[in-house]
């Protein structure tokens, strides 16, 4: 139980560092002087000190939605696969519940975007709704395909089973699922080919457009939510597609897991540096690829058993 709680705390604490790390890596690759890894925390404390400006055009939704954006993600963190062997984990929660909780958070984010009566909020919500509608099928198909290979529909148990028994006989569908999940990781977290979190041009924004009217504590909450969302996806990727390292004793297993997270973050950073932001109408091509790979993965498993 203590290891389980430690894992949850570790994941929540490491979330802002990971996003700062991606940014720093990108800056290094652009030959700029990188920001500190603690930048996420600095922003957070700075935002907490600020006063909150609430738009006069908004309703009660703006008062409550930011908390409801964060809380489903915080709940999800408790359901992730274990990172140390023998630790307690919630074995039963399946992929559909996890996608549902993430959708719940996105739902309130989109509602929030429409609440401020600004054109940008509506634009962001509209785009986000489009992207998340296409992400949903790929996400469900992928995680289910992995769960089938792991012989358990519960995500936590699937992570443990994959470590115990690596699916060598299902390598084809496993790889397809991995590719699909990586695309989803990029799409759901608003990384570059889909969305650019660092842009200052409103017309290209998705996530930032929805939260354009938030300041202070509300903005801090939303930023935390987006970093936690990244850590959820990264940790799912690490547990389901890099299934090793659970057999070591606790401190080493923790280190291995953190290394895995940083490897994923580096991969995302390199991917971001080497691609340009896609037009919104081109995004279906990328997400279509994810859907096709997810479908292929499931069909390969069902029909060929490979």
């Amino acid at each position: 139980m203590i290891l389980y709680l430690l894992t949850v705390v570790l994941l929540i604490l490491i979330a802002p560092i990971l996003l700062s790390y991606i940014k720093a890596t990108k800056m290094v690759l652009f030959f700029k002087r990188p920001i500190s890894l603690m930048q996420g925390y600095r922003n957070f404390t700075k935002l907490l000190k600020k006063e909150t400006i609430i738009s006069e055009e908004t309703s009660a939704i703006t008062r409550y939605a930011p908390f409801l954006v964060l809380s489903p993600l915080l709940v999800t963190v408790f359901f992730l696969p274990p990172i140390v062997g023998g630790a307690y984990y919630v074995s039963f929660v399946d992929a559909f519940t996890i996608t549902g909780l993430i959708s719940l958070s996105t739902f309130f984010l989109m509602i929030l975007g429409l609440d401020s009566a600004s054109a940008f909020g509506g634009m962001g919500s509209s785009r986000e709704s489009f992207i998340s509608a296409l992400v949903e099928p790929a996400m469900v198909l992928t995680i289910f395909s992995v769960s089938l290979m792991a012989d358990n529909l519960g995500v936590g148990q699937a992570g443990v089973n994959l470590v115990a028994h690596f699916p060598k006989e299902h390598m084809a569908s496993y790889l397809f699922a991995g590719i699909s999940f990586f695309i989803l990781l990029i799409a759901e977290n608003g990384r570059i080919p889909v969305d650019n979190t660092e842009t200052h041009l409103e017309l290209t924004m998705v996530h930032e457009a929805m939260i354009l009217d938030l300041t202070g504590v509300y903005l801090a909450i939303i930023e935390t939510a987006s970093s936690i969302k990244f850590v959820i996806f990264a940790s799912l990727f690490a547990s389901l597609f890099m299934p090793f390292g659970l057999e070591f004793i606790a401190p080493i297993a923790f280190v291995i897991f953190v290394l895995k997270l940083f490897i994923i973050a580096t991969a995302v950073a390199i991917f971001e540096v080497n691609t340009a932001k896609l037009r919104i109408f081109k995004i279906p091509n990328l997400l279509g690829l994810a859907i096709v790979f997810a479908f292929l993965s499931l069909i390969t498993f069902y029909v060929l058993g490979a």
Binding site: E51, T52, I53, I54, S55, E56, E57, S59, A60, Y64, F67, L68, L70, P72, V75, F92, V93, D94, A95, F96, T97, G100, S103, L104, F107, M110, I111, G113, L114, D115, S116, A117, S118, A119, F120, G121, G122, S125, S126, R127, S129, F130, S132, A133, P137, V140, F144, S147, L148, D151, L153, G154, L212, G216, I221, F281, P284, L298, Y302, V303
Partner: protein, 628 residues
């Protein structure tokens, strides 16, 4: 004459649970309706006839109440006639509902051997002796699914349901569609058993397509009631998927999974009744206050109509299957049942159709989120988009009570799911299936287990509790922090935020419309008042877009055109070419005689050839004649 077994009683409960809040709401809505007596007469006849359908024990009584149900709902559509569109919608509904009735009648005439007073149980003997059971199945699904609104017989639904007064729309979408599904349950279990695998697969494909098509058109809609009607089509699709999975598992001799899927279908029937009724009531309240159905004219209603807004939000969350709501629970069960098929099937058609159904269901729930964010966000949030919306106030007490009661019903489905599931389980036990309640809740009612191998567990109460707890802690932290707050206008790049600078519903679904333009075939109209001939400078501009329903255009319009062409030729023959008319009668006579000879008397290839040559000669010489 009447039957009161568990299946009937559960559906009686469904109708009563749906009608009670509706009745209160309807009483509050009544001042809005001009022809009060007319409306109330048909409203009560409608509820009574639905009750009659689900308790009737033989074909005659069933068809009698079915017809009264159709006619009274048709009259309800005609309560408020505003222009030609209502009459057109009513006529379309009348036509489609009788299209279905014909097939139901055919089904009953065959399975009852002409004796319409036979009870359903004894029909099974006759049905099992019938040589083509698939024909019976197709008659049944054509008859019932044309009422339930499955693809491709769904086209009338987005016209007919919104045309009725809002309480009646809520009843039609929420309850009447379920009565059609009751028919499917009743006759598939009592009359047409056992089921070949193909029937299940057919229903599975129909269900997947229905859910996708329904939600895609709901996304493109900007009439709020038509949006909800399209979303009903989607939910019928979801129920059919679960139903089909139950049939498939039954054929594959997996009794527990089969019951699990059927229970999921019944659960979703109850859920959809709850949230769709509530959404229609919410839409009705908005309509009542703003006098328009156009979603572009709403906006900012959450401040003037808070109760309506929050119950609408609750229902929207439930219909989009977000945890921990009841909509999520039933959709979770459907997903689990589909994944139960992973290790056991050898049939290649199942191996392809089940992943497709999973994909369709996941895609549907993704699109449903987009649709209901639009429906809620554009209607209730932002600034008032029209003067109508500005003058809206909260609806009267009775209407509020109706909506709140409905919301409480949804909440009870979420919090007391085991209680309801026990009844659903009893239904299938009474139909001779294995009970699954003990397997669903092996360790107490907190955790619901899936019946598939290595399936997941969901716990609505724990999810609900943890979400409330975490949100509460966050809110408490915010309060403790005592954050300084300031109010100021929304930032809009230095311009002023105005109602017309907001995103519209058309704009919101713009990306979707462009991506699915092959389906929507949008017709765009842009009107610009240009200044001094400059293309890019204009004082006033308007953009409207209309979506042509693909099925209506391709299937219905082309059938209409074909009928026109045939009737044109018949008319021409009968009126202008009277010499050929007797010749046609003669040829027809020949055709009947020859067919009788071939099919009923004796069969030989020689006579067929000779007779066909004679037919061709007669047609060529007497009817077609010489080319001019």
């Amino acid at each position: 004459m009447f039957i009161f077994d568990t299946l009937s009683l559960v559906f009686v409960a469904l109708i009563l649970l749906g009608s009670l809040p509706n009745l209160i709401y309807s009483t509050g809505y009544l001042p809005h309706i001009e022809r009060k007596g007319y409306y109330q007469l048909h409203y009560f006849a409608f509820i009574a006839s639905m009750l009659g359908v689900v308790v009737s024990a033989n074909a005659l009584v069933f068809l009698f109440f079915w017809e009264i149900m159709s006619l009274s709902s048709w009259k309800l559509i005609l309560t408020e006639v505003e222009g030609k569109s209502t009459i057109k919608a009513a006529r379309f509904y009348f036509l489609m509902t009788h299209f279905g009735f014909v097939f139901l009648m055919l089904f009953f005439l065959i399975v009852s051997d002409g004796n319409l007073e036979l009870d359903f149980g004894s029909m099974q003997l006759i049905a099992s002796k019938f040589a083509y059971p698939s024909l019976l199945f197709f008659f049944l699904i054509l008859g019932l699914l044309s009422k339930a609104g499955a693809v491709p017989l769904h086209v009338w639904l987005p016209y007919a349901h919104p045309a009725a007064p809002s309480p009646a729309s809520a009843l039609m979408s929420g309850v009447m569609l379920k009565v059609a599904l009751y028919g499917l349950l009743r006759f598939l279990f009592d009359v047409l058993y056992p089921w070949p695998l193909e029937w299940g697969t057919t229903l599975l494909i129909i269900g997947s397509l229905t859910s996708l098509v329904g939600i895609l058109y709901a996304m493109g809609e900007h009439d709020i009631k038509a949006l909800l009607a399209n979303s009903s089509i989607e939910n019928i699709g979801i129920i059919l998927i679960a139903f089909a999975m139950g049939m498939i598992f039954d054929t594959l001799k997996l009794p527990y999974l089969s019951t699990f899927s059927f229970v999921a279908a019944l659960f979703h029937i109850f859920n959809h009744m709850g949230f769709k009724s509530l959404l229609f009531m919410g839409a009705g309240s908005v309509l009542h206050q703003t006098h328009t159905k156009n979603i572009e004219k709403f906006g900012g209603l959450i401040s003037s109509m808070p109760v309506t807004a929050f119950v609408f939000l609750f229902a929207a969350m439930s219909i989009t299957a977000l945890p921990p709501t009841n909509g999520f629970l039933s959709e979770w069960m459907i997903f689990q049942s589909m994944l139960g098929s992973s290790h056991i099937t050898d049939d290649i058609s199942l191996k392809l159709s089940i992943p497709f159904a999973i994909f369709a269901l996941a895609m549907t729930s993704g699109l449903a989120i987009a649709t209901f964010v639009k429906a809620f966000g554009i209607t209730f949030l932002g600034l008032h988009r029209s003067t109508n919306a500005k003058h809206a106030t909260e609806v009267n007490f009775l209407m509020k009570t109706g909506m709140v009661l409905s919301a409480l019903y949804i909440a009870s489905l979420m919090l007391f799911a085991p209680f309801y599931l026990r009844f659903f389980d009893d239904v299938f036990v009474s139909l001779g299936r294995s009970s699954i309640y003990a397997k669903l809740f092996p360790d107490g009612i907190l955790q619901m287990h899936s019946l598939s191998v290595h399936g997941g567990i969901v716990s609505p109460l724990i999810l609900f509790g943890s979400l409330v707890l975490v949100t509460g802690l966050l809110l408490l932290a915010y309060r403790v922090f005592d954050v300084k707050e300031r109010f100021y206008h929304t930032w809009a790049c230095g311009y002023r935020t105005a109602p017309n600078t907001q995103y519209t519903s058309t704009g919101f679904s713009g990306i979707m419309r462009r991506f699915f333009s092959w389906l929507y075939k949008p017709q765009e109209h842009i009107v610009k008042e240009t200044l001094a001939g400059h293309e890019t400078k204009f004082s006033d501009a308007s953009y409207t877009v209309h979506i042509k329903p693909l099925f209506e255009v391709s299937l219905y319009e082309s059938a209409k055109r074909l009928t026109y062409i045939i009737s044109y030729w018949v008319y021409r023959l009968g009126h202008f070419e009277q010499t050929r008319y007797p010749a046609m009668i003669f040829t027809l006579l020949l055709f009947v005689l020859f067919s009788y000879r071939i099919f009923a008397d004796d069969f030989s290839w020689q006579t067929i050839i000779i007779e066909s040559i004679m037919m061709i000669m007669s047609v060529k010489i007497l009817i077609i004649g010489e080319k001019k």
